[in-house]
Each structure stands twice: as C-alpha cells, then as structure tokens.
Amino acid sequence: MRWIYFVLIVVVVAAANLVAQDVYLKIPADSPAKNPLEGNSDAISAGMGAYRVRCADCHGMDARGIRGPDITQVWARGRTDAALFRTIRNGVPNTEMPAHPAPRTSDLDIWRILAYLKTISPATAAAPGPGNAATGEHVFATNCIACHRVGDRGGNLGPDLSRIGAARARAAMARQIRGTMGSFRTGYEPVTLTTPNGQEIRGVKKNEDLFSVQVMDTRERIQGYLRDDLRSVSDEKKSAMPVFGPDKLSDAELDDLLAYLENLQGTNAAPSSAR
C-alpha cells in the first residue's frame, strides 16, 4: 500500500504550497541618499497636493507649523533627504507624527512631498529668535516645571516638553503660553468630575467613551471612572495650563523662555535614530 503514502505526500506538499503564499509585503531595503525627484516640476505639483491633503493639518498649508513643527527649516538645519524620508516613512515614536507605511504611501509619494517642500524652504536657517536660553531655563524652573517634564525632571500633568523645540514653531509656543491658543491637545483636555457626595476631582482627560472617563488628576493619579458612579463629568472651557499674560511673564522673560524651549530637541532622549 505504498502508493497510499505517495498520494498522502503529494497532498501534504500541495497544502504546504498553499500555506506558503505570503501576503506580507517586502519593504525596499535602502532608499537613495538624495531625493531623485528634486526639481522635477511634475513631482513638485503632485507633492504639493499630497502635502496639503496629508500633512497640512498639523504642519500648516504654508508648512510653517501649527500643531506640528515648521518644516521649511529642516534642510537649513542640516537634515538630509534620506533622514527626512525615513522620518516620514517611520514616523517619530512617542510623538503625534505617524508612520506612513507602504503600500498606502509609496516611496514616490514621499519623494514628491519632499520635492515640494524643498521649493518652499530657505537655503539658510532663519536667524534664531531673541532671548537668552540660560535665563529661560530659570523661567521654566519657576513657572512650568511643576506640570511639564524635560528629560527626567518635572511634572506629568502637562505634555512632556523634552523635544518641544523640534515639535512646535516658536510662534505656536508663544500663543500657548500667552493663552491665545483655542484648542487643547488630545489627552490634556481639562475636566472636572463630581462624585455623589459632592467632591470634585480636577484633572486632564486621557480618554473617554459613552460610559467611562479616564483622567490624570492634579495629584497625578491616573484613574478610570464609570459615568454612572459620578454625579457629573464636565469639560472645562479653560485650559488646565494657566495663562501667562504680560503681568506674569514680561515680553523679555517670554523671549528667554522661548529660546530655552527652542533648544529642547530631545537630544537627551533615548534612541534618536528616527529623528
């Protein structure tokens, strides 16, 4: 009955071949060091469209930064085409910059966006803004550190600022500090919970759904609550961050602080390969 074994072997081999069909995609090993599409007018116009659709929400229609950083300065500050390609492809871990994997984003798409950005980027870096960073660090230690972390120092109620200089345009930081920024960053929306006995828990909202809310309270306790267990959950109109008007922070102090914040490029943080 050896022929039966032969038939079985044929069947098993055929099945193994079926299983071996692989849906996972191969990502090209190395991308060119220099943008192959730089200066190509078709690529630039396609890149403009792609930029506006996919990047402008955070980086602004003019690429000078809204929630995300000013990206017209990246070449002048020494970043290479290859590094920028990797940043778009892989994203920046632990930041709002997402990865853009294939096949939805092709190599071509990325090179086009970079070809467009190059046309609106100055060859030399903008002059640094006014202010003394060393003085600014003192301003930070006095006013900000209770809630904001830089490196291994500071509080957790507000966003970590270790790389804020790479992530935000100076003007956007100034607006945030002066209190003229309209919206809250996701995960830091101010909220007040009221318990059935009237106790108020103030904090920032980390997450929520129809039935629950997850907060970090002002003592930095992270905790989830069922809405049914609370008397009320109210979103606050005012940011948990105090407004630093000219009465609290002079224009000169603000400049010093901004100079300090601009220097925070996350260079002390762990693996910087994605930057």
């Binding site: 692989d22 849906v23 090209p28 396609a46 469209g49 506006r52 659709v53 190599d107 129809l210 039935f211």
Partner: protein, 555 residues
C-alpha cells in the same frame, strides 16, 4: 506476486468502499446554495445569512426574536476569532450550514466553524509589490457572495475570484481591470440568478468606473455598465472636454435587487478630480447617482443624481434599501438612501422619481431638494485655494457603513455625522495610477466646531426623525435590527451597543476594544440559540444568551 498484489488491491478497494458508505450514512452533503434561497433572504428559522445586506432589499433586518430588549443584557461571548493579520474587518460575514465565510483585510479570507470559532480553511492572495496598490482608503474587503458551492470575492488588485466553499481553493479568477491604473475592488459581490455583480473602486485615481456581471460558473463577463457614458452615449455631454475619461464614479458598496422589476440599484461614487470645478464642468453623470440597471443586460433603466457636479467628494456609495411604503395614502415601491451630502432620499424604485428629500444633519450647501429633484444650491460653497467652510465634511453625513430598515415600524436607522470641513481646490494634472483629487478637505476643529454623531431613526415616508441616540464622536458603524425591536450598532470608541429600536433607549453595551468600522453585526440561529456575530478590529466575536440551553444538531 501478481496474486498477492491483486488481493491487496481488492482489500483496499473494499475498505475504501466501506469507508465511503459509512461517511454517507453519517452525514448528508449540504445542499447547494440556490437562487431561491437568495430570493428568500433571511429565513425565519435564522439558518443562514447569504449576502451582504441579508436579503436583496439590503434591510439588514432579521426576523429572529429570541434576543429581546428584556434579555439582551444577558448576552455572553461564545468565542473570539482573531485574524493574525494587519488591518481591520469591514466585512459582512456569511453563514451557511453552521459555517461562517469571512473576508478580511489584505486579500485574506476564512471558513470558520460557527460553533467554536475554529478555522476550517484560510485563503491568502499575494498582494502586488509595494507601491503598486492604490486602494485609497484601506486594504479592506466588504464580504463574500455565494451561489451553489462557490464563494465570490473581489480583490485589492481588482480581480474577482470564485472559491470552492469546502476548501478555499480558487475555481476561477477574472480580471476586472489593471490595478496599476488605479483600479481596486473592495465590494461584496451580489449574486443575482446566474450572475455575480461587482464594481470597481478608484474614484480618487482618475479611473472610469463600471459595474460588471460575470457568469457564476465560468467567470466569463456577461455585461459591463460604464458609470460614465462614453462618446455618443446619452450623458457624455455632462462632462466638459475629455474629462469623462478619468471622471472616477467608482462602485464600492453593494447594491440592492428587485426581482419583480428585475432591476439592480447601485450608488455611484464621486466625480474626479474630487474638488476642482473647472476640471470637469457639467453635471458629471452618473457620478453621485443611484442607477437602476436591468439585471440581465446591464442596460440603464433610470438614474437619479443626488449631487450634480459634486465638489465635496460626496460619493453616493451608501447602501440603497428597498421597501414598500404607504406615502400620502398611496402604496409605493421605494428605494431609500441616506446620502453623504446630508439629505435623506426616498425614491420611487420603478422610475427614480423623488418622493422625499430632506436633510438629516446640518447641511449648508443646498437650501432644499427642489420639486424637479435637483438640489437648490446656495452660493459660497465652491472650494478654492483659500478654502470654504461647508457642512457636511468630506467623510459626509453618513458613508459606506450600512443602514438598516425595520418594515414593521417603517423606520430607517442610520449612523449620522455632524461634522463640517474647509474644502480647498486647485488645478492638478492627471497622471495614470496617481492620486487625482484637485484639492483637499480638512475637518473643521475648534470649540464651536465639535464633531459628533448619532444613531438616527428616520420615517422614510416623511424624512422626519423619530428619535436619536447621540455619541460623543461620530460613529462609522453599520446597523443591524431585529424583529424583537433591537438595533445593534457600535460607537467610535469601540463599544458594541444594543438599543431599543422603538425608543432609542440604550439597553446594553460592551467594550470590544476596537470600533465596528464600516459594518454591522449579523445574527443567526445555531443549535437552538440566536447568535450575534460582531466584526470589530481584527476580531470576530459570537454572542448568545447565557440562559438558553443548546439543542445540538449533529445530522
């Protein structure tokens, strides 16, 4: 030697024959899926779910009543199936003879034991190399079609496959179009008589859309309907110059079928480039339209265009639902559709005439739908380089996630979105296979522009809202209703929700960990217990009541 061999052979033959006889005695081969079963839709015994919308009406309304508003809180999970692939479900599973047939992302599909969630077979199709695929909005699939012992599945590289139901092996493979030109396919096929009806995606890539019918046995193409008329055809002059050649008008959501009228109803996608008016002056037929096609020939019987010369990417690719209504004392055969453009429509499905056209969300671009069936457009909502704020946003008042209709209550249930956007437009040159939108839409944000949504129950005879269940953010989930008065849906935060379909009251919820995106649960009977099957994220979860005893059936 010879004698020994032949004796052995005789033993083997005898043993094999005996074995076959035993097998036959133990089980009857499952009957083939017939066209009559497809016509019957969701049978009262709950033994099957054989097409995308449950039945040709697309009502997604089950006759089952074991799970009720009173006992729904006693649902408990029976099993969880995980895909072990990237990407999430947007599929409507099929059920036949206690086996589930499920398509997933990335051209993967499964047959799964409905009793245990254990895989019976898996099918994988290799994707083209990186960068070759242009599927704009996720590498997804919306489900199988079925007839006889064959399954039908579209692929991201724009093919239609027939698979053997028992093994997942490919029976035939038909090419819809060349994927490198921007064509893709994500639609669940609709099987009508001996034909498999599908369409192509790619409205953001300058394609020319079409609906195709293929012979279910052979895979030979029976007919093609181009959703943009060619030169010399009626409607071609609604596209300035040669813009018809790359006008989009894709088809990526399954249509409905009326056997009496022998008509197919399909919603057609947006014109391209999406936002730039000067690139394609004219009404741009049959983009953003509902078309009624002869099911045998693919010939156009009538069309109704919801958004002539659309500049906001408002595909009419919502699931059309058929019903028989009484409107103003008259019995009417209607087709209903809650459109991405913000209006709810009830049309006479025999001739395409407007019966009801009413906004169901905040809608700024049109004052109303006129008596002639055309929207009365308000000035100031043409996208340009500076941007214009318009409601609804690009994703729309609703979208491809299926609505449901309960014929006993005469109510239409849809997950609606209250979101506005700033629309930009600019001139863009067309490059084959490249994204071709001529602009962009950016969701409006800020304290006065809160994006939210609600499950809304709409009376299709009047367009009036009966109730709503509001969400904290817009849901992209479909809706399943049952004859016991339940609506099953999900919110964007991952909650599975059971809602009283008469009142809108929330009855039960469970956090699934990922939203039911673009699809709804299905329901069926298995061993005497009604099941709710929920696709969410990368999981399928089967639910049944904890206190109903199993009645095993092992025929």
């Amino acid at each position: 030697m010879f004698r020994r061999t032949s004796a052995r052979l005789a033993v083997v033959i005898f043993a094999a024959a005996a074995c076959m006889a035993t097998l036959v005695a133990q089980s009857v081969a499952p009957p083939l899926v017939t066209t009559q079963e497809l016509l019957n839709g969701l049978a009262s015994d709950g033994s099957r779910w054989l097409m995308f919308g449950g039945s040709y009406t697309n009502q997604r309304h089950s006759p089952l009543t074991q799970i009720t508003p009173e006992n729904v809180s006693r649902l408990v999970p029976q099993w969880v199936f995980q895909t072990d692939t990237a990407g999430r479900f947007e599929t409507t599973p099929l059920l036949r003879d206690n086996v589930l047939y499920v398509t997933g992302p990335l051209n993967v599909a499964w047959a799964i034991d409905a009793r245990t969630g254990r895989q019976i077979w898996q099918y994988k199709r290799e994707l083209p190399p990186t960068g070759g695929l242009t599927a704009c909005c996720g590498l997804v699939n919306r489900g199988f079609g079925v007839l006889g012992d064959r399954l039908f599945m579209t692929t991201l590289d724009a093919h239609l496959l027939s698979l053997n139901m028992k093994t997942g092996a490919v029976v035939w493979d038909a090419t819809l179009e060349d994927y490198s030109k921007g064509y893709a396919a994500t639609i669940a096929p609709l099987v009508v008589k001996d034909k498999v009806i599908v369409g192509v995606a790619g409205g953001e890539y300058g394609i020319r859309g079409f609906i195709d019918a293929y012979d279910a046995k052979t895979g030979a193409r029976a007919w093609r309907f181009y959703t943009i008329p060619g030169p010399g055809e009626l409607g071609n002059n609604t596209w300035a110059g040669d813009s018809w050649q790359r006008g989009g008008a894709s088809i990526w959501v399954t249509g409905a079928y009326d056997p009496e009228l022998n008509l197919l109803y399909y919603g057609i996608g947006n014109p391209g480039p999406d936002y730039h008016s000067e690139s394609r002056q004219g009404d741009n037929l049959y983009s953003d339209s509902l078309v009624a096609l002869d099911a045998d020939t693919g010939k156009l019987r009538w069309h109704y265009q919801f958004t002539p010369h659309d500049l906001h990417d408002w595909d009419a690719t919502q699931v059309p639902i058929l019903a028989d209504l009484t409107v103003a004392g008259q019995p009417r055969k209607v087709v209903m559709l809650a459109n991405r453009n913000g209006f709810f429509y009830t049309l006479d499905r025999s001739n395409g005439k407007l019966i009801v056209g009413k906004p169901y969300v905040v809608t700024t671009w049109a004052k109303e739908i006129g008596a002639d069936g055309r929207p009365v457009i308000l000035p100031g909502y043409v996208p340009d380089e500076k941007g214009s704020l318009t409601c609804p946003d690009v994703t729309g008042a609703t979208n491809f996630w299926p609505a449901s209709y309960d014929p006993s209550q005469r109510l239409f249930f849809v997950n609606a979105r209250e979101v506005c956007a700033t629309y930009y437009a600019w001139k863009q040159e067309y490059v084959p296979g490249e994204r071709y939108t001529g602009g962009a839409g950016q969701r409006a944000t800020g304290p006065d522009m809160r994006a939210w949504g609600a499950l809304r129950a709409i009376d299709p005879a009047t367009g009036e809202r009966k109730w709503e269940f509001p969400y904290i953010s817009p849901s992209t989930s479909g809706v399943l209703t049952t004859a016991s008065g339940l609506a099953f849906t999900g919110d964007a935060e991952g909650n599975l929700l059971a809602i009283d379909s008469h009142t809108g009251k929330l009855l039960w919820h469970f956090q699934m960990g990922s939203a039911l995106h673009g699809t709804s649960p299905i329901t069926y009977m298995l061993d005497g217990r009604q099941h709710i099957l929920v696709p969410s994220g990368t999981t399928l979860t089967a639910w049944a009541l904890s206190d109903i005893a199993r009645v095993p059936s092992t025929r």
